[in-house]
Symmetry: C2
Subunit: 252 residues, 2 copies
């Protein structure tokens, strides 16, 4: 497979460094707990220390790296419990976004897009056959639905907080969708999630803030369930981006 980072042509060296380091970390090439030195990354990436330093600072903010007491960086790892909590934080913030959206009213164009998005997912699920690309299309539309939900709130502050959580590899709405390819009950899970999407949209249309918030929170917990399934199925876990960062119970 070609190195995806080298393909980024029109990017600053700092961006290249960010993408390169993030990529190697998520692939487990740079292993959890490993110390990252600027000079080592200079050799690895072929750029000088200046962009490497900027990239390290950014990735530490993002949460992938952990600053040490002596001004170095370690590749961070995540316990199951931390991933669970991250998903719960996402659900809570998405719930807040939905509540605000319901209270303040969602602009018609965004409601339209939400409806259109769900119609798209309905179509994908109706035609889904094992092995075809329906997971990819589901994942895209699912991400879009969640993005629209945030947009519906119109709140830059909620967006800011949510962006930070979702930057973690396991907290995004579609983090475990790719793992579904290896999970037998996959289609049923996706259909359940889509039912929840419809309920959420219905509550938004009815401007029922009291109903939409717990619906959205519960919806996020599907990701927790998917995490549990993936952790018990190594084929599925391999599909999850960033799986090498998960610190398993009792191991190492």
């Amino acid at each position: 497979m070609a190195d995806p980072v080298a393909l980024v042509r029109d990017a600053s060296l700092t961006e290249r460094a960010v993408l390169g380091i993030r990529d190697q970390v998520l692939r487990g090439k740079l292993r959890a707990g490993e110390r990252l030195t600027e000079l080592g990354l200079v050799d690895l990436l072929g750029v000088s220390r200046t962009p490497v330093r900027a990239a390290l600072q950014k990735l530490a903010e993002e949460g992938l790296l952990e600053p040490t007491q002596s001004n170095g960086y370690l590749v961070r790892n995540f316990s199951e419990a931390e991933i669970f909590d991250a998903i719960e934080v996402r659900g809570t913030l998405e719930g807040l976004a939905a509540r605000i959206a319901a209270e303040r009213g969602v602009p018609q164009p965004i409601l339209e897009q939400l409806r259109h998005c769900l119609a798209g997912i309905d179509a994908v699920l109706a035609g889904a056959r094992p092995g075809d690309g329906h997971l990819v299309r589901y994942s895209e539309l699912n991400s879009r639905f969640h993005a629209l939900l945030l947009e519906a709130s119109g709140s830059t502050m909620v967006a800011r907080a949510l962006a930070r959580v979702v930057s973690l590899p396991f907290a995004a709405p579609d983090a475990f969708v790719s793992a579904q390819a290896k999970i037998p009950e996959s289609l049923q899970i996706l259909k359940t999630a889509q039912l929840q999407h419809h309920e959420i949209l219905g509550a938004l249309e009815a401007r029922s803030s009291a109903r939409v918030e717990p619906l959205v929170r519960e919806h996020a917990r599907i990701a927790r369930k998917n995490l549990e399934l993936a952790l018990r199925n190594s084929d599925a876990l391999e599909q999850v981006v960033g799986a090498p960062l998960i610190r398993r119970r009792g191991r190492s």
Copy 2:
């Protein structure tokens, strides 16, 4: 008044740059909307571009500065609505922390510290006289209570999300406490807040997750009320750290 930043002796130049820029932004010396150039800050702070660049990156992450399309930075400003939302986000995340704490159980030592903290606030409020330093002591203990609440959850992920929100100048639990010096009904507000503190602690002790979450959320809304009061009282507003960053309705 002496420049507080120059007093920081044992700090790297990067830290000095962060503190210096943040200080000048919050004081309104660098005005909202103003473009910050690296060379300008080099002159202002007396350090070279390298630490200035690092500081700009950090402060942009923090939310005080806004990256422009052409790789520059602007001093950010905040609408009333944004500050309201930021406080709501804080309340929501603190509510999540409290719910998790109630569900998982709070360690006895932390419960002890919470009780001790509230006893301290009770004492401060009982002896409060206008003009004495009770606001400073209240503010410290109040911050400590909120920090303990977060610690009680034991969740690094909630802590991470909350840290990000609270880094904004107006979202911290004690952001508007200093303004109270100029607000007549101040003592009554603080007493109400302390009543809520007691209710929250009671709910935690009873491990009532369903009760503690809305209590904490509502508690945060006192800050929203304080913001409203401060915005209508320019003497009070002057006391608020970062007041120059508030974009008033209809102005400028």
